[in-house]
């Protein structure tokens, strides 16, 4: 016994496994906690632990380089490998950080929107969703991605439908159909790659892809992978599950999902695009993500335009998410170092911004009982702090200088400008879309500040447990707009490591 202990349980070395295992083990435990707020407190604790782990991992990666962890002690192509480099350490931190910030917020919102006797299941679902998202990000095995994708998806369906709005059920079902189609496309893509290379490990796959890269099968695999992943992150023609899904699910769920779920799918795209296919000479010219560019442009144009005409605040924000995903994909599609940096940093910035906005919307929902824009008249007067946070985060959404949103758009425009005339046009479109964002944010401001409050006088400011996370994120939007060391620099390192493999 003592010898075994000496043989070394090393917390530091086990961190990659713990990152996923902690929420995975916590979820079943959470179902046992039936007392008041117990599940919530437990989930918060676990989230804090997970965030700490992800920070430690990021630190390790930045100082020591890529971490490889062999599950079950079997070397990579035989067993499953966890492989952490800059990019996924960064995404891990975003996901666990958002979970940690939105859980305090969730307390009141969930109390209001989810039946009391379901709380232990709700938070177990939350932890499973977190576990799935982390698992997708951290793993270095193509099939493992699919498994964790399904964990997070199933948990998402369940969380979405956990509220009291009957429309959420339909939205969840719609997402279930599309999500399953997407996941199965990914499965087909992975299968074709497996048939052609004989391995499931992503790094090994990239090595062995060279000799068969000319085959149609590998190209078909790439097509299926990209189509499947695009379905998962709601790129324009496949976006229609997203607005309803985010608008009708409980506020806390919308906060968490809008900031993390699509981002992780985009990470998967990056992984396949650059790590697997990027290495192969035959794909350098093809550059699959570039095929997504037109869709991405349509996404941010149409997303912004539709957002203007929404009557519901949450739906407006959800449509704006469709647009923002467009920006990120534009960054990836451009494929240059700047573009990729912009895309990756926008993953981070948009997570902050959108989480803050959804938090504000959720706080209004809690107090007013509706997020229809007409009902929000004068909310600036009765909930001044919430509304101010909304406006400030809205500025970041638009991309006003000194906000985080500006930083990422700056890099996107820079990257676009490197591409000649088409690039100028693209940059113009990005600016145009930002103007559209001004319009839809202004609509809310106009209603909130320049109309008389109509609701009853009992409406008060949102509770502190909601305001604190909300303001934390809002201030973060500004902090990361001014101090770009942590966001942009890490993103640049990540982008260059991705492209470095590609070159």
């Amino acid at each position: 016994m003592s010898t075994a202990t000496q043989a070394g349980f090393s917390l530091l070395a086990s961190l990659p496994a713990l990152q996923v295992v902690v929420p995975m083990v916590a979820a079943p435990i959470c179902t046992f906690l039936r007392f008041r707020n117990g599940p919530w407190a437990f989930a918060l604790l676990v989230s804090a632990a997970v965030f700490w782990i992800s920070v430690m991992l990021l630190q390790q990666v930045l100082t020591h380089g890529v971490i490889s962890y062999e599950m079950g002690g079997w070397a990579p192509p035989i067993g499953i490998e966890y492989r952490i480099d800059e990019i996924n350490a960064f995404v891990l931190m975003i996901v666990s950080g958002i979970s940690l910030v939105s859980l305090p917020y969730a307390l009141r919102s969930v109390e209001r929107e989810v039946p009391r006797d379901k709380h232990h299941l709700f938070y177990a679902g939350w932890l499973l969703c977190l576990c799935g998202l982390l698992g997708i990000t951290i793993t270095g095995d193509a099939f493992n991605i699919f498994v964790f994708l399904e964990i997070s998806s199933l948990a998402t369906y369940m969380l979405m439908a956990s509220g009291r709005d009957p429309r959420a059920l339909t939205a969840a079902f719609q997402y279930l159909v599309l999500g399953t189609l997407g996941a199965t496309f990914i499965l087909i893509g992975v299968g074709l790659l497996y048939i052609m290379t004989g391995t499931l490990n992503i790094a090994d796959m990239a090595d062995r892809l060279g000799p068969v890269s000319d085959t149609t099968s590998v190209r078909a695999a790439a097509a299926f992978l990209i189509a499947g992943i695009a379905l998962k992150f709601a790129l324009f023609p496949a976006h229609f599950w997203l607005p309803n899904g985010y608008a009708y699910s409980p506020s806390a769920v919308a906060v968490f999902l809008s900031a993390t779920a699509t981002k992780v799918s985009i990470y998967v795209l990056l992984r396949f695009e650059f790590t697997v296919f990027g290495e192969v000479a035959a794909f350098q010219d093809l550059h699959f993500a570039r095929l997504l560019l037109p869709f991405a442009v349509l996404a941010f144009l149409i997303g912004s335009m539709v957002a203007i005409f929404q009557t519901d605040l949450k739906r407006l924000l959800a449509w704006s998410s469709v647009a923002q995903i467009g920006y990120i994909v534009v960054g990836i599609g451009l494929g240059s170092s700047d573009g990729l940096t912009g895309g990756i940093v926008h993953i981070f910035n948009h997570a902050l911004t959108k989480a803050a906005l959804f938090m504000a919307a959720g706080a209004m929902f809690l107090r007013i009982g509706s997020t229809r824009i007409d009902n929000l008249a004068g909310v600036g007067k009765i909930m001044p702090w919430t509304t101010l946070a909304f406006v400030l985060a809205g500025l970041s959404l638009i991309g006003v200088p000194t906000t985080a949103g500006f930083v990422s758009k700056w890099y996107l425009v820079l990257a676009a400008l490197q591409h000649g005339n088409a690039g100028y046009f693209l940059a113009a479109l990005i600016l145009f879309s930002s103007i559209l964002a001004v319009i839809y944010v202004w609509r809310v401001v106009e209603v909130a500040y320049f109309r008389e409050p109509a609701g009853d006088a009992t409406v008060r400011e949102a509770p502190l447990s909601m305001l604190v996370p909300l303001w934390l994120l809002t201030l973060a939007c500004f902090y990361f707009g001014l101090e770009t060391q942590y966001s942009v620099d890490i993103a640049r390192v990540a982008a260059e490591s991705l492209l470095g493999i590609a070159r």
């Binding site: 192509p77 035989i78 048939i195 085959t215 099968s217």
Partner: protein, 212 residues
């Protein structure tokens, strides 16, 4: 005693394989055409059974085992349970021709057929996936783990983490169904109106859409 027929074993396997797949296609056509939901569920059960047979033929006994138990057993029972709850017997005929789905499925099929040109033939022993990782499992399992069933060894040990994920998936499904089906029903506007029509004064159902 079955190898003395002059026709190699593989050929018999292949002939039966083709026949079974043909039946599978027939069942699929049936599922598309039949409108009665109960019949669809029954046919889906047959589909799973046939799939399981094909898997047995392709040497995937464990998979066939699971497919037979899950596809033909549990999922039929769950579907019947759902049909009992939703009380919908026939699917409505769509009143307009659905163009987009056809396009999507044709596009996906076209990509696949195109992609198959360069794929190794089914059952060839020198396909890339037969020569890279798989030989390790086949040759080393006895030394590493000493379990006769290689599938179990790979499932539980070499790729044990996938299986942990699989258990988590099923766990998620369990708590998801628990959460969805033990909740109080929410009533949408249409149902509420119908109920109010039924009895004149109408029960003033609380607006549980979150607007309360």
């Amino acid at each position: 005693m079955n190898l003395d027929s002059g026709i190699p074993l593989g050929d018999w396997e292949a002939i039966i394989n083709v026949a079974l797949l043909g039946l599978l296609l027939l069942v699929t056509i049936g599922i598309i055409r039949v409108r009665n939901l109960f019949a669809v569920v029954m046919l889906a059960g047959i589909y799973s059974l046939l799939m399981a047979l094909v898997f047995t033929l392709l040497d995937a006994v464990d998979v066939a085992f699971t497919e037979a138990a899950v596809g033909a057993g549990v999922s039929t029972i769950l579907s019947l349970g759902t049909l009992a709850l939703i009380d919908s017997r026939r699917e409505k005929v769509p009143n307009r021709f659905q163009f987009v789905p056809l396009l999507v499925s044709l596009a996906a099929g076209a990509v696949l057929f195109w992609g198959m040109q360069d794929m190794p033939a089914v059952g060839s022993a020198d396909a890339p996936n037969q020569v890279h990782v798989a030989p390790y499992y086949i040759t080393q399992t006895q030394a590493d783990i000493d379990v006769p069933n290689i599938v179990t060894a790979v499932l539980a040990s070499y790729r044990g983490f996938d299986t942990l994920g699989e258990v988590t998936v099923i766990f998620t499904a369990g708590i998801g169904v628990m959460m969805l089906l033990s909740a109080m029903p929410v009533i949408g506007a249409r149902r509420r109106r119908r109920r109010e029509d039924d009895d004149g004064d109408g029960d003033k159902a609380p607006n549980d859409g979150g607007n309360a």
